[in-house]
């Protein structure tokens, strides 16, 4: 039982989450060796780890830490296939902000 949240956000909100762990769901636009470019209501540069197996054109979920330059250092990346409704994913991001008491423990800086 851990009171630590990893909020679901989109690319346009990165600057508010520097230094924190976040979940981003987006479409893989480009794979460049050890990094990937995702579209999640804006672009995110994801710095991948060795275990990441993403596919260009597919959806992906990345869990990672937002760095100063707004790129995301990925701890865990998951290929989600091609059947992801991005609008629904964005709705979840929106309600996470709107109803934080259901989704986000405050004072969790994500430094674990």
């Amino acid at each position: 039982m851990d009171s630590v949240s990893t909020p679901r956000i989109s690319a346009n909100m990165l600057d508010a989450y520097v230094g924190q762990n976040v979940i981003i769901v987006g479409k893989v636009m480009q794979l460049r060796g050890d990094s990937a470019l995702l579209d999640a209501n804006g672009q995110v540069n994801a710095i991948l780890n060795l275990e990441s197996h993403l596919m260009a054109g597919n959806a992906a979920q990345i869990i990672g830490k937002v760095l100063e330059d707004l790129s995301v250092k990925v701890y865990n990346a998951k290929d989600l296939g091609s059947n992801v409704d991005y609008q629904v994913a964005q709705s979840v991001v929106d309600i996470t902000q709107q109803y934080k008491h259901l989704f986000v423990f405050e004072n969790t800086s994500g430094m674990n």
């Binding site: 039982m1 009171s3 990893t6 865990n76 996470t96 259901l102 989704f103």
Partner: protein
């Protein structure tokens, strides 16, 4: 309400077929039980893990919890498996849904060893799963006693679940969408047929948290001048165009809040003026 609107207008593909039909929370139960015991406390409720961690213990010492002021026993959660710990009597999973982390225990039935080992390998760490289970507390540590754990095959189910948990929370804290449309069409009909004055009347403390049926019944009692001898449920049913069943459900809810009381008999109600 924009997020909510987006939710209800989105159509889902085959989301696994488990419970995409949704629940009609307000319409459950027959109202035939006593008014004291909430009829829906065994209802399966979709929740986020943060809601479980934040749930208030309802009675000291007992494994009973409240979310949004309602007793909750059966829950369903969707999250990623972070760890699988095989133990002698159970398998303990750490499930993380992004809002928090909780342990889920699946007890092994000695007589059904085969079944347990069959269900074991159907998902691995980092997979998304849906858990159906019961909220438990042991040594003041909460966990979910799982009845069923199934891998999520369509990622949209993850988002669907989070939206559904929000919907149910809003249903209980603010009342359902106007018109008893259920989850499928729900908020789509915001400007729908229910011309009840309570639809945009959310700031009157008296109505907060009541279901649409309860509001409708209260509205009718209030409009009819609230005679001291009360109004019989047959009359309420006819005049407020509610079914008897709905009137009984609404009455039970209003009675349990002490908002109305019974007058001549158990089927005649009046508003308790304060």
């Amino acid at each position: 309400m924009s997020g909510y609107g987006g939710y209800s207008t989105t159509s889902y593909g085959a989301a696994g077929g488990d419970n995409d039909g949704g629940f009609m929370w307000g319409s459950q139960g027959g109202g035939s039980q006593s008014a004291v015991k909430p009829i829906n406390d065994e209802s399966l409720r979709p929740v986020t893990i943060k809601q479980i961690i934040d749930a208030e213990p309802a009675y000291a010492g007992e494994a009973s919890f409240r979310i949004d002021g309602l007793d909750v026993k059966q829950v369903t959660i969707v999250g990623q498996v972070r760890a699988i710990m095989q133990q002698t009597t159970n398998i303990t999973y750490r499930i993380d849904d992004g809002t928090g982390t909780i342990e889920v225990k699946q007890w092994l039935d000695a007589d059904k060893q085969d079944a347990a080992s069959d269900s074991g390998p159907s998902f691995r760490e980092e997979d998304y799963v849906r858990v159906w289970g019961r909220l438990k507390s042991f040594n003041s540590k909460r966990h979910v006693g799982a009845h069923v754990i199934k891998p999520v095959r369509d990622f949209n189910e993850v988002n669907y679940h989070l939206l559904e948990a929000t919907y149910v929370h809003l249903f209980f804290t603010r009342g359902g969408p106007p018109q008893d449309g259920g989850m499928g069409m729900g908020g789509g009909g915001m400007a729908g047929g229910d011309d009840s004055m309570f639809v945009d009347d959310g700031n009157d403390a008296r109505y907060r948290g009541y279901s649409q049926k309860a509001k409708k019944m209260f509205d009718y009692l209030s409009r009819s001048g609230n005679p001291t001898e009360g109004i019989h449920m047959q009359v309420i049913s006819r005049e407020a165009s509610m079914t008897i069943q709905d009137v009984m459900t609404a009455a039970e809810e209003l009675l349990s809040h002490g908002t109305i009381y019974t007058t001549m008999d158990d089927e005649t109600f009046a508003i308790l003026e304060r």
